[in-house]
Amino acid sequence: MNKLLTLLGAFLLLSSHLFAQGTVTGKVIDSKNGTPLSGISVKIEGTNLGTSTNADGSFSLNVADSATVTLEFSGIGFGFKALQATSGQDVTVAMVQENKSLSEVVVTALGIKREKRSLGYSTQTVGVDELNKSGTGNPLSELEGKVSGLTVINSAGDPGSGTYIRLRGVTSLTGDNQPLMVVDGVPIDNSINNFDPTSATPNVSGPNSNFTGGSQPTNRGVDLNPSDIESITVLKGPAATALYGISAASGAIIITTKKGTLGEGKINVEVNSSISFENPNQLPGLQDQYTQGTALDPTTSAPTFLPSPVWIGAAGTFGDGSDATSPNTGNSMGSGGKKLSWGPAIDTMYFTGVPDAYDKNGTLVGQSSPLAKTKAHPYNEYDFFQQGVTYNNNIALSGGTENSSYRVSLGNLNQKGIVPNSAYNKTTFSVSGQAKLSDRLTTSAAINFISSANSKVQQGSNLSGIMLGLVRTPPTFDNSQGYVMPDGTGDQRTFRGANGPYDNPYWTANKNPNTSDLTRVFGYGQANYQLLKWMVLSYRLGGDFYSQADKLVYDINSGSFPLGAIYLNNYLNKQINSDFTINMKHDFSHELSGTLLLGQNYFYNQSSSQLASGSGFVIPGFYDISNATSYQNGPNTNGEKRTMAFYGDAELNYKRMVYLSVTGREEKSSTLPISNNTFFYPSASLAWVFTELKNLKDKSILSFGKVRVSAAQVGKDAPIQALQTHYLSTTITDGFTPGISFPVNGVSAYNLSNTISVIGNTSLKPEKTNSYEGGLDLGFLMNRINFSGTYYYEKTTDAIFTVPISYATGFASKELNAGVLTNKGVELSLNLVPIKSKDFQWDVTFNWSKNVNKVVSLAPGVSKILIAGFTNGEIDAIAGQPFGIIYGSKYVRANSNSNTFLINDDATSLGYAMPIAGQATGQIGNTNPKFISSMINTLVYKSWTLGFQIDWRHGGDIWNGTRGAIDYFGTGKATENRGQSTVFKGLLGHLDGNGDVVHYVGGVEVAGPGAANSSSAVYNQYYWQNIGSSFVGPSESDVEDGSFLKLRQLSLSYNLPKGMISHAGFKTISLTAFVNNIILWTNYKGVDPETSLAGPANGQGLDYFNNPATKSYGLRLNLGL
């Protein structure tokens, strides 16, 4: 801000021509190569008199005749230099380019520009070069690994899917924990709007949503086009964001878009195009040795769990051998056998060679069957995935005259996903401009249009989920041989016979279209008025409006809705933000200067969703609501929120050495009770650049050093409409079915309560987070080595959350101010330039961060709350533990205080000599990583640039429900050990009727566990279905470590030499080859461990038929004209 004011002041001065006694003229050049530097501020020490250099680096200043003055030069990226000059003198000043990370000007809260050295809190900026590396066109996923303390999780490789971002730790139990997104000073919406008719709570959008099925939810932050972004500054903690108020209690992502520059007078053209190809990067392991089927009891034909499979019928035949039409769908086995892959070994089986609806090779029979013809072989279910391709094309024109500038850009991202028919097509168009209307009045404005169409992919716990149907398919069934039965009925062809109920993934891809069309406009207009030399008034009005139209269709014979169903959901979001600010500056002496900002903010948000659904299609394949035989409107939602605030920010700068900043904001929010809706929060920060001390200054070893401390208190308001208890149109669901929603049989009804309803609370008060932060920034060896370290401690009290209460109260929960959470952590970044020569430079940056979160307390009597998941794999907040605990059932332990398993000593039990699945539930994993870190390398050799980034996440458990399910069904790789025997470690015993541990001594139950187990057990179907997997057995069995080391990015660029291209009119031509996610080292056995079933919602750490992530390789061309 200082700089801006200085510049504005300088303009004023130039135009006024007040003191024309004498001049000092000069030129400012870059010390490195002598090129003239424009825009360098030149100021006469101790005065407000100054100017800035022209395009050719020259300047001229009026001074008193024959006076000697001290000129102070400063400029972005060039630090500070002082020089004495006398009237009439012509000076040449060589400025030293500073290491950019220390001298850069960063955009802070409300768009205020500050020199990074002056900040008393932690920020990190990601520049234009870093934002277009992956070719995904998703600005949020581009941030992965680039900012310490920032967690970025791409939910899946689905086109247009969401990206979860979080700074530091969770501060809000059930509210939003994603940072505020601000574009050019205007907050924009990053919410999740999703409808999932296959979940128990289909229409709960937002941060606390528990989406377990449907399609991958998207957060609207992915709409931006990274090609339009100049930089992203991440304001990590409350001290940095206190000026934003409630909306930025979880930090802020400050996005600055590219603009045309004043004074160039010519048109710049910027073109960048990339093409990349994607494939799944990791998939759950599947077995390819055993057929569909189950072990049958030879006497009753009922499915049983015999230690070794016995197959009924003639020796060696499969099933009863008599069902020639579809025996390899297991029709003779009842539903229990059809869905399973616990049949005989494939290499003992033969095809009959008579094609049928289920297999072109014919039915499977045993080798002794007279029908046996050719040896059976498994199919590769993963052939389903196709190669995705992404085209990303952007063109921008920019230019400017002395008084105005503009930039126009057009971008298109066209993505074809790895799942057939999945796609994402995003077109962005933006126009921005600024005009200096007079010496006092400058204006600027920008408007962005976004139109996107997304064909989404069904996922998760959903009969139509791609992965659910795919990985449950026995290796002896080939989904690709058709998804419609060839008999003309229109029935679905699945491995369980006609019409599933697990959808053939090809069916889902073709018959369950799920589209999301977005139209969005956001932008701002701003005017700055220089009222006095030391006072600028600014007004900025911004808006963000979008409409998202989703259409979900389940054609007739789809697993989820066999009669056919259609859901049309329209989301509208409007938000308006108004800021009026007064910026003042004053130099108290030549050593002490200050700025003061006063402002008023008004914010308004209105959002709605309108749902219309129909079911019971008449015509297959006709996806219009008119095709339905019953209709329903709603449930609809409408929400509104207003806030109004006054704020102030005062900064004192002593000798560019000590900076003190104090802010305060008083805010009023409509979501709180009228009597208690206004609250104040302050922040203070201090930065001391101790290398400005006389005897430390200009030392080459420690070239820069800063200590910073800050404290802040921020608040959060309540969720909208949390004060009342609502009557709503009646719905009921249970753990297995979508349930009913009124009207039923033509009668409408309302309910006050159901299993998700909340008692409103008219005495809510704001939730508060106190935050303390300290840090150290150091630069060594003329800033060849830069280090930045931050420690923070945050404590949230009166956390507003939906407190679960005993259902016997009649309700599921009540809104309360109850919880206490703490976060403490360390964020480190180290930037090195190990090699720097004329032709070769190597830059390497390490980021490392660790956050320790603790849910100190929930509400009285509440020990845990559900964040997301299933009964066998919950993500919870548990008092005394970090947020994001995996909770579920456990193996029975021999003693309450030991971790030794009890091994079943009941010889009559099918689970004899195996661990025992317990009824009791408890904590079984922690989704929080121990630390996350990254290493980013850039090596430049002449015109070549090689870049690569390695990310390392250590720790962070994931509930791998996918593995649990496929091990249950017998398709999991682990189940290839079937038939092998093992001796489980533990003490012998079992639970008696009272649930107490006992063991047998001569057939009599004796209290407590017995001796160590030495009996062997067989890894059989019973084991995998009931003991070894969490599908039915203990949830504990599928908690896995999600640590990974990943080569996130590798790219090689070549800049064509200027001499070669300039005669063709090009300023730059560069060609880049890149790969993403190409190498992944992890012990995690599912898809890429960077995965999230709930998408960008709070409940991270669940994998239940999550769609895979992708690796990609591609080429990019950048042209500058």
């Binding site: 066999p562 309910n751 005993s806 016997a808 109260t809 009649g810």
Partner: protein, 453 residues
């Protein structure tokens, strides 16, 4: 000039937002999708449908898997069948009963009482009585006296009431309810189409009240002839034909279809024809085999449940006339010992059950010839025979689980382990974690309900 434009814009904007702010701050937080108040006619359908859905879904499933009317070897229900259950598995039925059914019913009761809408007041009490009976019979001690009060500032941790005492509470709910129903002309609004069970016929609701009481007394009648006599007395005022049956029939759309249909459509883990009950029916050549079970029914119910219970518009039965006839037979045997009267009741119980299900009259006659006569005058054996036939008649009704627990008929072999067949449901995880101080400590399914002796 330009500066004036700037101020004009800024000040106008401030005024617009500042003013609109003041007016709209209070209104902003209102939910336009939620009515400020409701009428009894919009609450009654909620209570009936959610009761029907919860009983017909979760509760019938657990009971049916325990009493072996159902069979499953697959997934969660396969685990339940072999008694691998966790407390979390019971959150859904418990939660739906307290929130969707009983809390809304209590809201209905308070609303109807405040406007002296006697018929709604009465119906809400009968429905509360039935719901509470369902809770007590499956869990034993449950919260009631302090339950359902949180919305009005009551406790978050309601204490558990003694199960035997709750039976008295149920009786008094019915007594007040039937009194209000008898005086229904005195009070304002009356239900009609919003009452999916009886279409607003208060005399039917009174009969339903007596039917519930008959159930309560027969539950306590083992070794207690007086209770059997109480049951008999109630039967005189209870149902007199199949048209009196208390039942709920769901709709034919995806969002109004019945719970059995939805479960089979979405999950399909239950293998109906493999149940112990199916073997019983098969061994008796029972004509109901092809009604309960329908192997040709391949639309979505690949595992073969029949239309009567398995359709989207399938029946969820609360109490039916045929059940009361079985109660009559049993109560007669236990109290007066009038064997002839018991025989008549037994015979007609089977008859009315089969008639209800649409069994052809000739098949009924054949079946009654073979199975319609009590084969012994020994009371215990005769009761076992009555209970066995009642078990076959109570398909899909959780009362069958109660029947088996209190009579031991039919004889069932535990599917797994040495702890026997469960005698009750587990207290749900939500209670164990959120109402720990009050929730009975046992996490086991073996302790018995008070009448289970």
């Amino acid at each position: 000039m330009k500066s004036k434009i700037f101020f004009l814009i800024a000040i106008t904007a401030l005024i617009i937002f500042g003013e609109s702010c003041k007016k709209s701050f209070e209104k902003a937080n209102e939910d336009p999708n939620s009515p400020a108040s409701v009428t009894p006619s919009t609450l009654l359908p909620t209570v009936e449908a959610t009761l029907g859905y919860t009983q017909g879904g979760d509760i019938s499933r657990f009971s049916g898997l325990y009493d072996q009317q159902l069979f499953s070897s697959a997934q969660q229900t396969g685990a339940y069948y072999t008694y691998i259950v966790t407390d979390q598995d019971f959150d859904s039925p418990w939660g739906n009963m307290y929130t969707s059914v009983m809390e809304n019913d209590k809201t209905l009761m308070n609303l109807a009482d405040s406007f002296n809408n006697n018929e709604y007041s009465g119906i809400s009490r009968i429905l509360m009585a039935y719901s509470l009976q369902l809770m007590v019979d499956n869990w034993g001690k449950v919260p009631y006296s302090q339950a359902l009060t949180a919305v009005n500032g009551g406790t978050f941790t309601p204490k558990y009431d003694n199960d035997q005492a709750l039976y008295d509470t149920i009786v008094s709910l019915i007594n007040v309810g039937t009194a209000k129903l008898s005086n229904s002309d005195a009070g304002g609004l009356t239900p009609s189409f919003d009452d999916a069970i009886y279409g607003g016929d208060e005399s039917e609701w009174i009969k339903f009240g007596h039917a519930i009481k008959a159930r309560l007394y027969i539950h306590q009648s083992k070794n207690n002839a007086a209770m059997a006599a109480n049951a008999l007395a109630q039967l005189d005022s209870a149902f007199g034909s199949n048209s009196d049956n208390a039942q709920y029939i769901f709709g034919s759309t995806e969002t109004s279809a019945g719970p059995v249909y939805q479960f089979d459509e979405q999950r399909g883990y239950i293998d109906y024809p493999s149940s112990t009950m199916a073997f019983f029916l098969d061994s008796l050549s029972d004509p109901r085999y092809n009604i309960y079970l329908d192997s040709t029914y391949s639309d979505v119910n690949e595992d073969g449940i029949g239309h009567y219970y398995g359709d989207d518009t399938g029946h969820v039965e609360f109490i039916t006339y045929d059940e009361l006839l079985f109660v009559k037979a049993e109560a007669t045997l236990r109290s007066t010992g009038n064997f002839v009267a018991a025989q008549t009741a037994y015979d007609s119980a089977i008859y009315y059950n089969m008639t209800k299900l649409g069994v052809a009259p000739t098949d009924i006659a054949t079946y009654l010839t073979a199975n319609g006569t009590l084969t012994t005058i020994a009371v215990d054996s005769a009761i076992a025979q009555v209970a066995f036939q009642e078990y076959l008649a109570l398909y899909s009704n959780p009362e069958a689980f109660t029947l088996w627990r209190r009579t031991g008929s039919p004889v069932l072999v535990p599917t797994s382990g040495t702890n026997g067949i469960p005698r009750r449901y587990l207290y749900p995880n939500s209670e164990v974690t959120l109402n720990a101080a009050n929730t009975p400590a046992s996490t086991s399914y073996t302790p018995k309900i008070f009448w289970d002796n």
